[in-house]
């Protein structure tokens, strides 16, 4: 049911874990199924230097988390904000129809982490 790419990211997820002093953290729950994802970002000079994730979710959720982190590392905040669920899904070679909602988790959590970073930097 899953593509090879999905299975690769599920089996060897990139950037799992957490950051000690992240610039921003985003956590979202998937309204469709209740699964949860948390993303940590480290931003310097407006560029995402490092990124880590933790996911409680299905295979698609883990794979999309993994590929999403890979896609935005080294990108500017603005570039990262342009990343959509569809980008993530198609980078994985597609997802089964009933699994498309899973790809929301990653982009949403990333956007939340960026929002958190912006809030903090405005305050700081």
């Amino acid at each position: 049911m899953y593509t090879e790419k999905v299975m690769d990211h599920f089996t060897n997820p990139r950037n799992v874990g957490q950051l000690e002093n992240p610039s921003g953290v985003g956590e979202v729950g998937n309204p469709t199924c209740g699964d949860i994802m948390r993303i940590y970002i480290d931003v310097k000079d407006n560029v995402i230097q490092d990124i880590k994730f933790k996911t409680f979710g299905c295979g698609a959720a883990i794979a999309t988390s993994s590929i999403c982190t890979e896609m935005v590392i080294g990108k500017t905040i603005e570039e990262a904000l342009e990343l959509t669920n569809k980008d993530v899904a198609s980078a994985l070679g597609g997802l089964p129809a009933n699994k498309m909602h899973c790809s929301n988790l990653a982009a949403d959590a990333l956007h939340e982490a960026i929002k958190d970073y912006k809030n903090k930097s405005e305050q700081g």
Partner: protein
């Protein structure tokens, strides 16, 4: 890599003896049982022999067995057929919160059509309380449908007691015995049920054939209409190869029942002991009042589908009460009914044992599951070790 199939609750491999008789029928006995010529008479004879074997497995008379296309059709036939047949008597049906969808959904369809539906709760081990049934029965109740063994957590219901309560009030009692037949002794008279569903592919027979036991004299209307097969209760050319194979599977199930139940109970208990040694895990269902083949545990902090995928990558076939399994996204209604939170229900693993499983399989599973659980927990935002 080792291959371990522990999803016998979903379906079973055919027994080699079943394959042999089925292939023989496919090849040599192609007559239509309704035909009067030699081919037809040969087919008819085999059909009735199979009916006798299937009847014997549950202590019924052959003429009380009606072959269907599987457990789902048998369940629907029981519920919708009795409702239609007893329309004039009343429009109240009683079932339980942990039924298979093949029972729950037809009940809900009746509810939409104006029936009253009482869904009995279960305790934290998944058992219906007889006193709840006694209170729920009404003058206009036409059917009680409570499953014998639950497909997710393996819990056995006190069917004999429940059926007695219904009988005292003159109400027909149906039990979905898809998961109990062939695993523990099932006798329609000892249980005192009026209708009982079962399915061949859960007892090492083929997919696409099942049966509904209907106690003589029970009023029930057919779901479909056509030729006169199955004494007009279930029309359509009979699935002869499937039915004969079902008959063989029934014979084997009866022959080997005690030995297999003993053997599998030991494997099951080893699995339960081994898995519940992992931290933050719970066993779902009743510890002893459960079929010999079912293990269901919930691991905190992890999600079912990724657990299954990970085990699959290690050659282990299992299933989950989780959302993702069936394409539906709601957590298992059974696990919620026994009081699990959504999040914990999400991290459930069902291992269902069968004929082909060995001690070695159990060793392998007990070695691999903790590794997978640990890996997924380390990725979980809910887990802080």
């Amino acid at each position: 890599m080792q291959q371990v199939y522990m999803d016998h609750g979903a379906t079973t491999p055919l027994h080699p003896e079943v394959i042999a008789v089925m292939t023989d029928v496919l090849t040599n006995h192609y007559g239509n049982p309704s035909s009067v010529h030699a081919w037809g008479r040969d087919a008819k004879k085999r059909l009735e022999e199979a009916r006798t074997s299937v009847a014997k497995l549950i202590g019924a008379q052959p003429e009380e067995i009606f072959f269907t296309s599987g457990g789902t059709e048998a369940d629907n036939m029981a519920i919708l057929g009795v409702a239609k047949g007893l329309e004039k008597k009343g429009k109240h049906i009683i079932t339980s919160a942990i039924e298979h969808h093949a029972v729950l959904y037809p009940c809900e369809v009746l509810k939409k059509a104006g029936y009253d539906l009482t869904i009995l709760p279960v305790d934290d081990q998944g058992r219906v309380r007889p006193e709840d049934l006694a209170l729920a029965l009404r003058e206009d109740t036409v059917l009680v449908s409570i499953m014998h063994a639950n497909n997710e957590i393996g819990t056995l219901q006190p069917i004999a007691e429940l059926a007695r309560i219904a009988k005292e009030r003159g109400v027909l009692f149906h039990t979905d015995a898809v998961q109990s037949v062939g695993k523990i002794p099932v006798n329609v008279n000892e249980l005192g049920v009026d209708l009982l569903s079962f399915s061949a592919h859960k007892i090492y027979g083929p997919k696409g054939v099942g049966a509904l036991y209907i106690r003589r004299g029970s009023r029930i209307l057919p779901l479909t209409h056509g030729g006169g097969q199955e004494r007009r209760r279930r029309p359509g050319t009979e699935n002869l190869p499937g039915i004969v194979a079902f008959g063989k599977a029934a014979e084997i199930a009866q022959r080997d029942l005690t030995a297999e139940a003993d053997r599998l109970t030991k494997l099951r208990d080893r699995l339960i002991d081994g898995l519940t040694a992992i931290p933050e895990v719970r066993l779902n269902g009743h510890r002893t009042e459960r079929i010999p083949t079912n293990v269901n545990v919930s691991f905190r902090y992890i999600e079912g589908e990724s657990l299954l995928l990970s085990l699959d990558l290690k050659g282990i076939a299992a299933s989950s009460g989780s959302a993702c399994t069936s394409g539906s996204l709601d957590p298992s209604h059974v696990l919620l009914a026994i009081g699990l939170s959504h999040e914990i229900a999400h991290g459930s693993l069902r291992l269902t044992l069968g004929r082909i499983n060995t001690e070695d399989d159990v060793d392998y599973v007990l070695r691999e599951v903790p590794v997978v659980v640990e890996r997924l927990r380390s990725m979980s935002p809910l887990y802080n070790q």
